[in-house]
Structures are given as C-alpha cells and as structure tokens.
C-alpha cells in the first residue's frame, strides 16, 4: 500500500547554458506514494511545469535522480513511460474525433480494435461524454474538452497521471464541480495523481499531500492540515491560506515553550524544537485571522487594545483590519452569524484576543 510511486532526489534543472542559464529547479527531493493525490503547489514560475515535464520525459534534468516504482527512468523516452499527462491547454488532436482522441494511446500500444472500443466507451462513460464520441474537439466547450483530455490520458491505464493546472482555464462553478469529479475519478480508479496548481485553496481541498515550491526549491511537503496548521517557514505560512506575519523577540526559552514579546505583550508559545531558536532572537509569528477574536472595548481587560481601520464583508465572514497601539496591524476574521461584531465600524475601539495555541513560531 505504501509503495513509493515516484522518488525524486537532488533534482536540479537549468535552462540554457553559461551565464544566461536559468535555474528552474534546485536540489528538489521528495517521494510520492502509490495511489496518492499529490499536489505541486507554488506561484507561477516556481518550476512546477518543469518538474512535471521531467517526470513525463519531455525535459532533461541537469542533476539528480528520478525513479518510478524503484526503477530509474532517466533514459526512457516519453512514449516508453507508463505515465500520461493532462496538458494545461488540453492539446486534443483537432483532426480526430473525440472517440479517436480517447483511443489514441491504446492504438499506439497496438491493442486490438475490440479492446480499444471497449476501453474508449468505458472512459467516455466515466467522464459522461458518450453522446459526444463522434464530434470534433472544436465542437466542445472548455469543460468538455477538459474531460476528454482526462479520458484520453486515463484510457491506457497509466500508473501515474500528471495534471498541469487542468482547471485553471475553467470558470469558478465549473472548476468547483471538476475538483469534485477529479477526486471521485481518482478514488474510483486508484491510480497516483500528480496535480499541479498555483491555487492554494484547490490544493488544500483536493490533495492527500502537498509539496509547496518557491523559486525552484521545495519548501515543505505534508498533508493539507500539516501545511496549513504547521507551516515550516514564512513562505509556506504566507502562501497557503491567509495569515498575519508579524515580528517578535524571544525573551525566554525552555524545552517546549518560548516566551515571545510582541506588541508589548508576552506570549507563551509551544515549540517543537528548542535548538532552532535562541534567546533575544528576532522571530516571525504566523497568526491566522480566524485565530484572533475581536470584541468591543471593555474597561477591565488585559487583552490587546486596537482601533478598527477597515471592515470588509466577505459573505459568511467579516474581516477587520485593526491597528494596535505600537502601530502594528492585524487582520482578523469572524463569522457573520456567530458574532455581535456586525455592528462594529471603522474607528471603533476594540480589544483582540489571540489564541496563542494556534500561533506558529517561525525562525527564519
């Protein structure tokens, strides 16, 4: 069950040579388990497509090792790898019908016509496009093309499916239903999906595990909960979800806790590894907006006093931007239905309570 589908070690990739070379990947190492929905997440230009193209066999790499089920596949051309791709812009063959597009892979594998026919029908059923079998790609909508691309890549039953931002060209509603559909299809077929996206929400919703990348380097690998609740560095904390990244100073340190001074307050925070920190060290705190409570100022409080600067209505939530005494700003978010804060307005004095158990202390 926990077999490793893909192992990438020390992967480095340069485009071009000499002084003009662009480093697209830098010493990337991680493992993708069999039957996993694995997501590569990062901003545009961070090297996600490059990594996917290396796995697909379309791009060579400068250093490192790539293993598929414990077998090095460096020298295999794309047509010899049991890996299929759903390309970002679909890349459906415009001169072939939908049926022939979906059956293309099986035909190239030399399968008999009867099997091609059966498998093609099965795949078209899976993506609910059976009535469109005889049309051309140009006669389909964006969402339908997307599903054909999926069916075409799944038809030869690859061991690993690569998806390069497959949903980014679709509108919001379609994207949401396709997320659901993709997840279901993967569970139904039980194959490894490697999914590329720059949309952190999409990554959190769909993935078993996520690899966060930035500027060609791997930042963190983990489950959506780990990535969201325990980011390992500032980039991950900032990129995944919304957060307040603020600076503080460590005043005291013991084996499992640190006392951090922030905005004239001493916050006692749990830490995992004291060796990462030192007393008097400048650190960053990541405080999620939903972990800060806000209420109207009352006289006998010891909480953080603040002034509301901006109020934003977000539907189910209300977001406040608050200014603290020292000039620091914090964003807080509360649910519209469970709060008496709906009447608060910019300029009002409030007090904030931070759930210190949820604060993440970041060394760098």
């Amino acid at each position: 069950m926990n077999q490793i589908a893909i192992r990438i070690s020390g992967m480095t990739k340069y485009y071009g040579t000499g002084p003009d070379a662009v480093r697209a990947l830098h010493d990337v190492s991680f493992e993708i388990r069999n039957n996993e929905f694995f997501t590569l997440l990062g901003p545009s230009g961070c090297g996600k497509t490059t990594l996917l193209r290396i796995i697909g066999g379309f791009e060579e790499y400068s250093e490192g090792k790539l293993e598929l089920f414990d077998e090095e596949i460096q020298d295999l051309p794309p047509n010899r790898r049991p890996v299929n791709t759903v390309f970002q812009h679909y890349a459906l063959f415009p001169h072939l019908s939908i049926r022939d597009n979906v059956g293309f892979g099986l035909k190239m594998l030399g399968k008999p016509d009867s099997e091609i026919h059966r498998q093609t029908n099965k795949m078209l059923d899976l993506v609910r496009l059976s009535e469109y079998a005889d049309r051309r790609p140009s006669q389909l909508s964006g969402g339908q093309k997307q599903r054909v691309a999926l069916a075409r890549a799944l038809a030869p039953e690859p061991k690993v499916l690569l998806l390069d931002e497959p949903l980014s060209a679709l509108d919001l509603k379609l994207r949401q239903s396709m997320r659901h559909e993709l997840k279901q299809i993967r569970e139904q077929l039980g194959i490894t999906f490697i999914f590329v996206t720059h949309d952190q929400e999409e990554a959190l919703i769909m993935s078993d595990r996520i690899a966060v990348m930035s500027h060609g380097s791997l930042q963190q690998v983990g489950t959506p909960e780990e990535i969201y609740n325990h980011p390992e560095n500032r980039f991950v904390a900032d990129f995944v979800g919304e957060t307040n990244l603020v600076q503080g100073v460590i005043r005291e340190l013991c084996s499992d806790a640190a006392c951090v001074e922030y905005a004239d307050q001493e916050l006692s925070l749990a830490i995992q590894n004291e060796n990462l920190f030192a007393t008097e060290q400048q650190v960053h705190l990541s405080i999620r907006p939903e972990h800060i409570n806000i209420k109207p100022m009352s006289s006998e409080s010891s909480n953080l006093p603040a002034l509301i600067k901006e109020k934003t209505f977000l539907g189910t939530d209300i977001q406040f931007l608050c200014r603290l005494k020292g000039g620091n700003e914090l964003t807080t978010r509360v649910q519209t239905t469970t709060t008496d804060c709906a009447t608060l307005l910019p300029g009002d004095s409030v007090e904030l309570t931070i759930d210190t158990k949820k604060i993440v202390l970041l060394g760098d």
Partner: protein
C-alpha cells in the same frame, strides 16, 4: 460610416486602383477575348468562335503542343512532389530543430531562389550541367525545376507549421506514439493544408517557368512555355491566345485551390 484612416478616403485612390487593374489585367482580358475571335487576325473582331481551341487540339501543330503539354505536366507533377517532400523535411528541421548553428544561413539558402534574378540561376544551372557533363534534355529540366520549386513549396508549409504548437507531438508521444508515429499520425495531418498549398504553388511555378527551362532544355525537348515562345517567334496566331488562355485558367484554378487549402482549419488553431 467609414473610419477616418480608411484608405478609400485618400484622393485619387479610385483612379489609381483603376489604372493598376487596367495595366495588370487588361492584356490578359484582351488575350482571352481574342482567343474566341472568328478570324486569323489578332486585332480585328469578327465574331465568336471556338475554332482556335479546336485548332489547338486537332490542328496541324497539335502534336507539337500535345508533346510540350505532356512534358510540362509530367515535369510539374514530379518536380512539385519532390520539392514538397524536401520542403516538408526542411520545414520540420528548421522549425522543430530548435537552435542550431547556421540556422540563418540555412534559411537564406532555402529562400535564395526567390531573391536571385532568374536569369542568373538559369545561366548558373546551365554552366553547372555542362561542367558535370549532364546531357541537356528532359532530366535537366526536371532537376532544375525541383530546385527552384523548393522555396515556393517551403513557404506555405513553414507558415503552417509555425502555427502548430509542439504540444500536439508531445501529447502523441505521451500517449505511446513513437517519433515516426507522432509525425505521420498527428503532425502531418495538421500540416496537410500547408502541404497541399505548397504543392499546388510549386506545381504552377513549374508549369509556367520559361527562363530556366529555356536555358537547360536540350534541343527538341519543349515545355508549353518554350513551345509557345517558339511559335510566337514566327508571328502571333490566335491559337497561341487559346493556349495561353487555357494555361491562365489552369493557373487561376491551382492558385485558388492553394489559397483555400492554406486557410483550411485556420479558425481552429
């Protein structure tokens, strides 16, 4: 309402257009009209008749023209086919080959025949053939035509290929196609309109070439243009107009097909 920048608002636009049209197409139209003239004179109109067309096919000189026509068409088909195959290979190499040394030089070499005055090519080709001791005749014409047809076939094919993303070949290879299968099953069909267009253009260019053909043809081997030229030297007869009109008609048909072919599928890609 017309836009301010509309070229039709310039003064003299209409008369200029008329003048150009007249100079370009006037002579052609006159030749076409007089090919139906029921008179041996080429300037006096004496009523409609098809006698000169009959003369072309069944007259005294018909065997000569038929032989020339056979030479012209067989050479055009072979030259255009060969040139198209070479042009496809060249286009794939130039456009899919990435950056390689002498790429610009290769392109210049490919399109050289378009820029060098034809008479220079003609003389050079003649010198080349006589230097290597190739006997002038049908084969020399064919070889020369293949060479100067290549750039004409290349241009529409390359233009087409430039607009085909390499993602399709990658998708084919991702789906287990070998390089050859990706080429024949995906890239070729996508390039086909360009290939047809290039072939037709090369065919027409070969069909009506005169200068080079006249230099490299041996004695006794004629193509249609050289045969017409030979006949005209003994005085212009209306049957020449009939042949010319037929050739013109054929060229228009081919060029039109070529144009439509190059536009097939433009909307989709």
């Amino acid at each position: 309402m017309r836009k301010v920048q509309d070229i039709r608002r310039y003064q003299g636009f209409f008369s200029m257009t008329l003048l150009c049209m007249l100079l370009l197409y006037g002579p052609l139209i006159i030749v076409m009209i007089y090919s139906f003239n029921d008179s041996p004179s080429i300037i006096r109109w004496e009523g409609f008749s098809l006698r000169w067309y009959y003369e072309v096919f069944f007259g005294l000189e018909a065997p000569k023209f038929k032989k020339a026509a056979f030479n012209s068409f067989s050479i055009a088909i072979m030259a255009a086919t060969t040139a198209t195959i070479i042009a496809v290979a060249a286009a794939v190499g130039m456009i899919r080959g990435g950056q390689f040394r002498a790429k610009t030089a290769s392109f210049a070499l490919l399109s050289l025949p378009l820029m060098v005055p034809e008479i220079v090519t003609a003389v050079a080709t003649l010198i080349f053939f006589s230097t290597i001791g190739f006997v002038a005749g049908y084969a020399t014409i064919l070889v020369a035509h293949i060479v100067f047809c290549i750039p004409f076939a290349y241009l529409p094919i390359a233009a087409r290929l430039e607009n085909i993303s390499s993602i399709y070949e990658e998708a084919a290879m991702d789906l287990y196609a070998s390089r050859a299968q990706a080429f024949f099953r995906v890239l070729m069909p996508l390039m086909l309109p360009g290939i047809i267009s290039g072939f037709l253009l090369a065919f027409v260019i070969s069909l009506d070439d005169f200068i080079i053909t006249n230099f490299v043809k041996g004695a006794g081997v004629e193509t249609l243009p050289t045969a017409i030229f030979g006949a005209v030297k003994q005085g212009i007869k209306p049957d020449i107009m009939a042949i010319s009109s037929l050739l013109l008609f054929l060229s228009i048909v081919f060029v039109t097909f070529s144009w439509f072919a190059s536009r097939i599928g433009m909307k989709h890609s």
